[in-house]
């Protein structure tokens, strides 16, 4: 075995390196033999001519002896491959137009597939770049009946669960955020993440330098430590090997660097360069804080090797039940549908984009199918044209396997060239992915065109080569050889089976293009619907920007309020500014959080879930600046923060839910959950105005959660958004905004400065990009279908040239001929359209979940797609039909 393998490789290498010398030597040797034999015959008295003849006859066919020798030396396989490769190249050279069309078609289809595949591969398929990432899960609280699908996990959850869930090998919390980093005058806002000490061990990463955090470093007095990423270390510390012990200023506080993470470290889509301990006070970990996750703190765990997600889920459920007990609060949470869900970290991270990505892959795969079918039809036509040549070769002894491998090699060569082109093209078009927002997708920065994608490209190309070859090879083998030889034309006769096959392929192609186009139509219409939605405020001419006030200098609310008031006053003075306001969280920023409120006099009925309500603190002229509509009462003003009287503004959803038949003005409510009888009268807020509903989380959200706006003094946060209504293009005031904030506090940068319209546009990018991409795919698909239809019809006309000529000579009118071919076209388009309609309806059903306010069965879209397909294919048929009608009988009959 080893021996035969060795000799195989030797023959392979030797045959590759010395094919030429082998051939020459073999010829020499055989010639020597023949000459010697001839000479011997002459010596025995035969005439030289007769001797040469006898020698040749007795030796046998030189070429077959040579072939047997090659086979004996293991040269035959390479030789055959080489010969067929040369044949394939020769065939391509002979018809460069065909080869170019085929390669281009495949390259475009393959390239588009590779592009989407690269995205899907890096986002959905590849495991997270962490050790044994499949064992990582995330756990979050959900209160579906309160309208809160996701609320992270609380510190209490963490301290209660740690070490008590058997399915978890480790458990950790992390809280992404931002911080002002740097010394006075050189501050920048940076992404940071606060973590519990076991975070890095849970995800399986060790600091490359230094150490992880310790349990002692989780209180506010002992947490002055930081761990930095490799890139932060290189950029800010110049890769100083003695960085441990140096300091970094975060939010005005000096932190001791204790560790540097390894260069390959990457956690989900996090951009954080600095990791800090997630510090807390004991009361933050107490029982009554159990449900205050707030969707900013996330829990992850590493499953033990034997545990599954289901086991972990049941243990979490049991643990929740045991800690919640039978209290009144537990009952209220149960009414809200409370549960803690355990989900694979990877799955959870990419869950939102998974359907859109899979849909795109399906769409682009259909495009590939269309391209392949198109080529099969072209190849079938060409194979038919070579019928006689093949028949002759077969009768001269070409074997079936030779004919098959010849076709396979030719199509595989085509597909491989196209695969390389497609891969290069797709890799070169990565910028296109950036334009489409792919790098902003979760894990989007991982997208790579590497050897893995290249390998898939080559494997795909080989498969396509074989798929392309299959029908042609079948046709070549099963063609009735005798008929081809007898027929007087060069091309031989057309088999009816093959013709039917060609028509069937064309029908499929039309149907698939229909499906793709209808799917695109649904996406586009859905996008249009979403874009047409009013956000509930006037979004034009608004500039927004984010500031975050570090805990160090803004620990109490009066410091924050003073800052806000100063900024508002200063910015309103700037030229070009019409009005300015501030809010803890601007609509459509993508991180709106909900919290509870307690309405005075409203008693929750048994089983009535508490509602999660969007709650904001506002300052300046927020409502006027944003262009909110006032339903009754008044807006909040800056002065409300300084008045003793506590007031608030609610939106119409709140007004409708709690005071459906009464005037909401003058009604009162508390922030958060208040137990009846325990709440203080002094903490009540009086409603002074009702404003219109605005879209909070996204344009396509469809909930009436309601929103309450409090004066900034009563609800503030370290982060805030400035909003400025401008008299000119909003972006032109970006520098002004930064300058004003730096004037008030020279260490505070403004980040994420964007116009409100830009925010709205990017909130729709998960709808826009798929619509745009599938639009491009459909366009290519229609083009391919048109080419395919044109090709098949033209061939039908060319094939029946003589017949048409005869009929015209016998008096048929051009009009009749034209109608005959148009009828043929219709007989293909109509079934294609019907099949496509069925497919499109099914596709619409499958897409329902990602459509916005659209029924899956949309006759406008179906009708539109159908008309486009019918029109394009009909036009593609007109030209060949017209040509048929103009055939001159004389020429057609004189033709060979």
């Amino acid at each position: 075995m080893v021996r035969s393998l060795r000799s195989f490789f030797r023959s392979l290498t030797s045959s590759l390196t010395s094919r030429h010398s082998f051939e020459a030597a073999m010829s020499d040797e055989l010639r020597f033999h023949l000459e010697q034999y001839t000479a011997d015959l002459v010596r025995s008295g035969v005439t030289p001519e007769e001797a040469a003849r006898r020698a040749r006859i007795e030796f046998g066919a030189l070429s077959s002896v040579k072939e047997e020798c090659r086979e004996a030396k293991g040269m035959h396989f390479i030789e055959a491959l080489y010969r067929q490769w040369r044949y394939a190249i020769r065939m391509m050279r002979k018809s460069p137009g065909f080869a170019a069309t085929a390669i281009l078609t495949l390259a475009i289809c393959l390239g588009a597939n590779l592009m989407i595949f690269a995205v899907i591969d890096s986002i959905l398929l590849r495991p997270l770049p962490l050790p044994e990432a499949e064992r990582l899960v995330t756990i979050f609280n959900t209160y579906p009946k309160a309208g809160v699908d996701r609320d992270g996990s609380s510190l209490t959850n963490y301290y209660e669960r740690r070490g008590r869930i058997k399915a978890f090998a480790s458990l950790a919390l992390y809280r992404p955020g931002t911080a002002i980093v740097g010394g006075p005058g050189a501050t920048e806002r940076e992404a940071i993440t606060r973590i519990t000490p076991d975070f890095f061990s849970a995800i399986g990463v060790r600091p490359a330098i230094g150490r992880a955090f310790t349990e002692e470093e989780t209180t506010f007095r002992t947490d002055s430590v930081a761990i930095i990423t490799d890139s932060y270390w290189k950029q800010r510390f110049n890769a100083d090997p003695n960085v441990v012990g140096r300091r970094v200023r975060v939010d005005g506080l000096s932190k001791l660097v204790v560790g540097v993470l390894p260069p390959e470290f990457r956690f989900l889509s996090s951009q954080a360069g600095i990791y800090l301990p997630l510090s807390s006070r004991l009361q933050d970990r107490s029982q009554d804080r159990r449900h205050s996750g707030g969707n900013s703190t996330h829990m992850i765990a590493r499953l033990t090797p034997e545990a599954t997600v289901a086991v972990a889920q049941s243990q979490i459920d049991a643990h929740n039940a045991s800690v919640e007990g039978e209290s009144e609060n537990a009952k209220r949470m149960a009414d809200a549908g409370f549960r803690s869900l355990v989900v694979s970290l990877h799955t959870d991270h990419v869950a939102t984009i998974r359907p859109a990505l899979l849909l795109l892959q399906a769409g682009v795969f259909v495009l590939l199918l269309i391209g392949v079918v198109n080529l099969i039809n072209l190849l079938l036509i060409r194979a038919n044209g070579r019928g006689k040549e093949l028949a002759v070769r077969q009768s001269l002894g070409a074997t079936q396997s030779q004919l098959v491998s010849e076709v396979v090699i030719e199509t595989t060569v085509l597909a491989l060239v196209a695969g390389v082109l497609g891969f290069v093209g797709a890799a070169g078009a990565t910028e296109l992915l950036g334009i489409l927002g792919a790098d902003r997708l979760p894990l989007g920065s991982n997208i790579a065109f590497d050897a893995r994608v290249g390998l898939v490209a080559m494997a795909g190309a080989v498969v396509i080569g074989i798929v392309l070859a299959a029908p042609i090879a079948w046709f070549n083998i099963h063609r009735p050889m005798g008929l081809a030889l007898q027929s007087e034309t060069r091309s031989g006769t057309a088999s009816h089976g093959v013709q039917r096959l060609r028509y069937a392929f064309l029908v499929t192609q039309i149907a698939m293009a229909f499906v793709l186009l209808a799917g695109t139509g649904l996406l586009a219409l859905s996008l249009k619907q979403a874009m047409a939605i009013s956000p509930g405020f006037r979004s034009e001419n608004i500039l927004t920007g984010q500031v975050s006030m570090p805990w160090g200098s803004y620990a109490n609310v009066f410091q924050r309020l003073a800052f806000v008031e100063n900024v508002m006053r200063e910015i309103a003075k700037q030229p070009g500014v019409a009005s300015a306001g501030l809010i803890t969280n601007v609509p459509l920023s993508g991180n709106a959080g909900k919290s509870a409120a307690t309405i005075e006099g409203h008693v929750l009925k048994p089983g009535e879930p508490p509602h999660g309500i969007y709650s904001y603190g506002v300052g300046g002229d927020y409502f006027d600046t944003m262009g909110f509509s006032l339903r009754s009462g008044r807006f909040l003003t800056d002065a409300d923060s300084r008045r003793a009287e506590r007031v608030c503004v609610v939106d119409e959803d709140i007004a409708k839910r709690y005071w459906p038949n009464a005037d909401p003005i003058g009604r009162r409510l508390w922030q958060g959950f208040q137990r009846p009888g325990e709440a203080s009268e002094a903490d009540l807020f009086t409603v002074v105005g009702v404003v219109g509903r605005v879209k909070q989380a996204g344009l396509t959200e469809d909930s009436d959660q309601g929103a309450i706006y409090y004066p900034y003094a009563h609800r503030s946060d370290s982060e805030a958004y400035l909003v400025v209504r401008t008299a000119q293009a909003p972006e032109s005031l970006a520098l002004t905004m930064q300058k004003v904030v730096r004037q008030v506090d020279r260490d505070l940068p403004v980040t994420d400065i964007r116009s409100m319209e830009a925010r709205i546009a990017s909130s729709l990018s998960t709808r826009r990009s798929p619509a745009l991409l599938s639009g491009i795919f459909s366009l290519v698909a229609i083009l391919l279908t048109a080419i395919g239809t044109y090709g098949v019809l033209s061939y039908a006309v060319a094939q029946r040239r003589r017949e048409i000529g005869v009929r015209m000579a016998l008096g048929a009118q051009p009009q009749q001929i034209r109608i005959q071919f148009l009828r043929l076209a219709l007989s293909l388009i109509i079934p294609g359209a019907i099949l496509g309609l069925i497919g499109a309806i099914m596709t619409g059903q499958a897409m329902q979940s990602i459509l916005f306010q659209l029924p899956a069965l949309n006759w406008d879209v179906l009708g539109g797609a159908g008309s486009v397909i019918a029109l394009v294919t009909l036009i593609a048929c007109l030209l060949p039909s017209h040509r048929a009608a103009r055939i001159s009988p004389l020429e057609a009959l004189a033709d060979q």
């Binding site: 033999h33 034999y37 293991g74």
Partner: protein
């Protein structure tokens, strides 16, 4: 011309090895030598000689080398390798056993049964 016998399948390789074992030979020489040592009884089909030579060379039972022939022309000479010698020994022994057995079987008389 004496009566020639058809070659039994599988015996060509053995004959070539034997022919080459006596003295290095070129292809045509192998043909002549086999004819000579078989007393003109065995006729090798010329077309199948070379594939057999190439096969044996591939199996490293014989090795080939270009050299001057008697009439001063370049020819490819084949020699037996060590492995070829062993193979020839095995095959000869095997053949002799087979031939003896067949001969014994064919010489059996009725009374010996």
């Amino acid at each position: 011309m004496p009566k020639t016998a058809d070659l039994l399948p599988g015996t060509l390789d053995m004959l070539i090895l034997k022919a080459v074992s006596l003295k290095p030979l070129h292809g045509y020489g192998v043909l002549l030598r086999i004819r000579q040592i078989s007393g003109d009884a065995l006729e090798i089909p010329q077309g199948s000689l070379y594939p057999a030579l190439y096969r044996l060379e591939q199996q490293e039972l014989i090795s080939a080398e270009w050299a001057q022939s008697d009439n001063n022309r370049r020819a490819k000479y084949y020699t037996l390798t060590a492995a070829g010698r062993r193979r020839l020994k095995d095959e000869t022994a095997g053949w002799n056993r087979l031939a003896a057995a067949i001969a014994a079987a064919l010489n059996t008389k009725p009374e010996e049964v």
